[in-house]
Symmetry: C2
Subunit: 257 residues, 2 copies
């Protein structure tokens, strides 16, 4: 590997074969040296889960000039940990995760393996960005996203990101319209109306498939949903400090006297 | 079930048989009617993972006066979703999760199934509290925690919690000393130094067990680690809005022009 090109760690949660990560890999190869460590199958909805009760096995897939690629049997966060502690001998200049098949705007970030991997990168002090296209289909067209993604990655490689944050980048599907631009946003108030699909197995026992309907509720013009609804890319700065700082003094009065 | 006593939903991530949840169940039975829905085995480190690729099966274990109890094959968050959408016909007055075997202070909250279940409760508008004892042992002594837990649960049943937050309550091990009191805290800057235990299987292939050493780094007197180190219970108010609000304008200048 040459010394000059930036080193880019790539992962996702849809699995190493998903069209989204293959599109991201192609785009990143034009920018730098790449190391891919991604789940060997789809691990959507895994959030920040780690594997502690069974062993992890990285599997080498590609070992060519400027392109190292592994799959693992772990979660997205496992992949980042294995990449940084076992596979890579040099700290990456940036971590990119995705391109996720489907939105990670609003409340979806809480369940997202794509974004958990990104957050894990920021916890390790690496400028980290997760990309999601608002289209769950495996046939989604990632083409219009690519110029925006490469522009953003180059900007972050130049300027870095503030300490302790990463970016949750969601990209709208605008069909024949061009994407209008990028907006810095906050997490909107969408929610999932969970419905379980109740079935009875051949032995007469109940079982349930988790399903549900997502309701985006970003009515305010500073939210991710608002931006996406209007054809803008949403960029949410994300922290792993879950403290509700604005309520510290209220609770002090309420609970500890 | 009587009408007057509060309805308490109980879950955890160490599994339905863990001493921590059994201690919590005993304590909550003195306060109200209880519904327990917990994983059928230990699911530590599962964070906010949900099960979408395999079916969920709740198993009825206890159906007696004021005490309904199920195990499930799902994650802690699955348990909360099944409880609220399938098992319970009435919205609980409070959700309690734990008592976790081991700390969820500092960065541990990000990986915690106990706290993810608690956060899921707050996302559904239920006052929710996660309890953790800073002792990973299965033989941990939960006795000294119980008066503090029942006091806090009664206070929350009386006064509620602000919308959109839950509480991450960590309880120190003080051995023969009494617990000193409760402090409202922010998330400290601890971290895990991951080390993987590298082994080679009988067929000559590499595999890795995730292990690691936790470094608590709560030097500032407003952090959870500071409080715990000095024998206080730490109460962190927790939000599921991951936006780094303080950086919105900085990034606006940096990225979107």
């Amino acid at each position: 590997m040459t010394k000059k090109k930036p080193l880019i760690l790539i992962t996702n949660d849809d699995g190493i074969d998903a069209p989204g990560i293959r599109a991201l890999i192609d785009a990143m190869r034009s920018i730098g040296r790449i190391v891919v460590v991604a789940p060997d199958q789809g691990r959507s909805g895994q959030a920040h889960a780690i594997t502690v009760n069974s062993p992890l096995r990285p599997k080498l897939l590609i070992n060519s000039h400027d392109h190292l690629e592994y799959s693992t049997n772990g979660t997205p966060v496992d992949c980042v940990k294995l990449a940084l502690k076992i596979i890579m001998t040099e700290k990456p200049d940036i971590l990119v995760s995705g391109i996720n098949h489907g939105t990670n705007a609003s409340i979806n970030i809480v369940y997202s393996g794509t974004m958990a991997a990104t957050i894990e990168g920021s916890m390790e002090g690496i400028p980290s960005v997760g990309f999601s296209l608002c289209d769950f289909s495996m046939e989604a067209d990632f083409g219009p996203s690519i110029p925006w993604i490469t522009k953003l990655v180059r900007a972050i490689l130049n300027d870095g990101l503030p300490k302790g944050i990463c970016l949750n980048v969601n990209i709208p599907v605008t069909n024949d319209e061009p994407i209008k631009g990028m907006k810095i946003t906050r997490q909107g108030e969408g929610n999932w109306a969970e419905e379980f699909d109740h079935r009875i197995d051949p032995r007469g026992r109940d079982y349930y498939w988790m399903t549900g309907k997502y309701n985006g509720n970003g009515h305010d013009s500073d939210t991710d949903e608002w931006a996406l609804d209007r054809g803008y890319i949403s960029i949410q700065p994300v922290t792993f400090d879950l403290t509700a700082h604005h309520l510290l003094s209220t609770l002090e009065k309420q609970l500890t006297r």
